[in-house]
């Protein structure tokens, strides 16, 4: 059967459709609640995907990812607190609009912009990913090892506010990935006689700890707020909140530019939606003829920020699918989930599993459309979710973390791995060390080691194949450029708070 048709048939299964609807609805709610980010939603869903067919697993994770980013704008606009860091730039104009009685209009503009950005990036994904994969099909062990080492450095350099801290996080991820049997000879490494560690540190408890438990510990350190967000849309002037053709014309150009910025950022590993939305917001402000309204409730500000952060979603799948390199923390989680399903992302996926690729394309499109429908109808009920106090929410999520870590392998060791990862994530967050490089490097280390050792075994230990390879040399030059730019940034900073500049690299979005 044609892979596209097969993907459509699989998506049309009642259980899969129900999963899609539920995941989009849950993603919207989780994204809307400050403190529960998209990363947490996707991390908590991964243990369940182990027991699902591949299509249903992908639908669950992608549905949560796409809708969660938009959900973040709800609290950004209504509460002046972004549900996910990716929506932080939406506050600048979204909250002033809400204060002027235009919250519904801001939410709908945010929805339209999110829809546009997401579709833009999915189209780009469909056009670019197969071409990139086709190019990468010619890669041997030397090129693959070089590309993965390039990812290690780029993620470390570009994630977070500090070059050294990003790279330290990536190095810790690499060290953690060396636990378990050596991939070539099967020699046990750092297992301390524990059979449970022969397969290495398990990915599911690690990511649940790093992303979910660490955030809950952070909330616990703030005493779990019992405050109920005061949100009411009932007194708004419906006429003033209607979106007109003039409004659409007003936001069209900033949306296109922001989607392009978001997609470009999404393709680069490790930067993510937060930086994209801030860059697009700055770009929209600079390129506007009259920028005096920005920061006071300008539609273009909301549109630019939301288009950009949603454009990252599809674009991050380009390196993930074509090269097997995750674009951000969430695609790293998705990549790990695909591996758990027995599918290895990379250029061969387009040849070996075209049905999976089509499923991802279609799920991204369907979940975006569904997000638009649910988001449009349920803006007011969605606003109500902001009233849930964290004191009830967070301990319940912690219990789900414990159960999720355990069910991955029915092993109590995994609960302890989750606990340790949670403490590590908490310490990293508190010290301004980004978490995303650790997870991404943890995932790419095994294929990196395999490729590196294959290449070196073939050359009998000589590094000459690396030093004479054009792909390696080009990537090395790019790393050098990124490194110098980031070092200049760090050295020019006298004492800038790391947390104020933190990006996707932190435990948030």
């Amino acid at each position: 059967m044609d892979p596209l048709f097969q993907a459509l048939v699989d998506l049309g299964q009642p259980a899969t459709m129900l999963t899609l609807v539920l995941s989009v609805a849950i993603g919207l709610v989780i994204g809307a609640i400050p403190g529960l980010s998209v990363n947490i939603a996707v991390a908590l869903a991964v243990p369940l995907t182990i027991f699902m067919p591949t299509t249903q697993a992908l639908v669950l994770l992608i549905g949560l990812y796409g809708s969660g980013i938009f959900g973040g704008s709800v609290s950004a606009i209504l509460l002046n607190a972004p549900g996910t860091p990716a929506s932080a730039a939406t506050i600048f104009d979204g909250f002033p609009m809400a204060q002027q009685g235009l919250a519904t209009k801001a939410l709908r503009i945010s929805l339209i912009a999110s829809l546009y950005g997401a579709v833009f990036s999915v189209v780009l994904l469909i056009l670019v990913a197969p071409e990139l994969a086709n190019f990468a099909l010619g890669f041997g062990p030397v090129e693959i090892a070089s590309l993965l080492l390039f990812t290690f450095f780029v993620i470390g350099i570009l994630s977070g506010a500090s070059l050294a801290k990003g790279l330290l996080s990536a190095a810790v991820g690499m060290v953690l990935a060396t636990v378990g049997s050596d991939p070539m000879l099967g020699t046990p490494r750092f297992t301390f006689g524990q059979t449970a560690l022969m397969d290495g540190l398990t990915y599911v408890p690690l990511l649940v700890g790093l992303f979910a438990l660490a955030e809950i510990l952070e909330e616990a350190s703030r005493g779990f707020s019992q405050r109920i967000g005061k949100v009411s849309l009932s007194g708004e002037d419906r006429e003033a909140n209607r979106i007109t053709g003039k409004d659409m014309k007003f936001i069209a150009f900033p949306m296109v530019r922001a989607s392009a910025v978001g997609s470009a950022i999404g393709i680069l590993p490790g930067i993510g939606a937060t930086i994209a939305s801030f860059l697009a917001y700055g770009d929209a402000k600079r390129s506007a003829r009259d920028s005096s309204r920005f920061g006071k409730g300008d539609l273009r500000g909301v549109a630019a920020s939301e288009s950009a952060n949603n454009a990252v979603v599809g674009a991050t799948f380009i390196p993930t699918l074509a090269l097997g390199i995750p674009g951000d923390a969430v695609t790293a989680i998705l990549l790990g989930a695909l591996v758990l399903q027995g599918v290895t992302p990379g250029p061969l996926i387009f040849v070996m599993n075209p049905g999976i690729v089509y499923t991802i394309y279609l799920t991204l499109l369907f979940s975006t459309l569904l997000m638009a429908i649910i988001g449009f109808i349920a803006v007011r009920p969605l606003a109500m979710t902001l009233r849930i106090p964290k004191i009830y929410l967070m301990p319940c999520v912690a219990l789900v973390c414990i159960a999720g870590a355990y069910v991955a392998r029915n092993n109590i060791v995994d609960v302890w791995v989750m606990f340790g990862a949670g403490l590590l994530g908490f310490v990293f967050n508190r010290t301004g060390v980004p978490v995303a490089p650790l997870l991404i490097t943890f995932i790419i280390t095994r294929p990196f080691e395999e490729a590196l050792r294959q290449a070196l075994t073939r050359s009998e230990g000589s590094f000459m194949p690396f030093l004479t390879n054009p792909v390696t040399l080009t990537l090395a030059a790019l790393v050098a450029v990124f490194f110098v730019l980031a070092l200049r940034r760090d050295l020019s900073r006298r004492k800038t708070p790391a947390s104020s500049l933190s990006s996707e690299g932190t435990n948030h979005g």
């Binding site: 070539m184 350190s221 301990p395 159960a403 508190r430 760090d490």
Partner: protein, 151 residues
């Protein structure tokens, strides 16, 4: 000394132990097994590279930490985080011993009591949520959580 530099110092120490004690141990284990007559890159190559990277970047954070000090003091509200972490650790200890349902009921009851939640909401969640999670995992995904010795 700021918290990020303390972390870097701890990781530097960890890298030293990793490179100085653990990696050579793997090398010795591999030597005992042998690798035949053909050339192969040993299992210590990547750990050596990873440990060296960790040491180098830990030193870099130690040197540059002052410029990128975190905004929130490390110790701010740490007590709440530690109490919650202790509750999670206790739940992990109890899970295989008394089963998921009793362990999770105790976990929620202790956390809600310590963080002063409204008693009636806490009571409902403490009783209902563990049962819901247990039943979903048992019925929808046939995954049994550790058996309940007390129920």
């Amino acid at each position: 000394m700021t918290a990020d530099r303390v972390l870097a110092a701890v990781l530097l120490l960890g890298a030293a132990v990793y490179l100085g004690v653990l990696v050579p141990e793997v090398g010795r284990a591999q030597s005992a097994l042998g690798s035949g007559d053909f050339y192969t890159v040993g299992p210590t190559a990547l750990p050596t590279f990873a440990g060296t990277m960790m040491a180098i970047f830990a030193v870099a954070v130690l040197l540059m930490g002052r410029r990128t000090a975190p905004e929130v003091p490390f110790t701010q509200g740490l007590g709440g985080g530690l109490i919650f972490a202790a509750a999670v650790a206790a739940a992990a200890v109890l899970l295989p011993r008394i089963g998921f349902l009793p362990a999770s009921v105790l976990f929620l009851a202790v956390v809600f009591a310590l963080f002063r939640a409204k008693w009636w909401v806490a009571l409902i969640l403490t009783i209902v949520l563990p049962v819901v999670i247990d039943q979903i995992l048992r019925k929808v995904f046939p995954v049994p959580l550790p058996g309940a010795a007390l129920f």
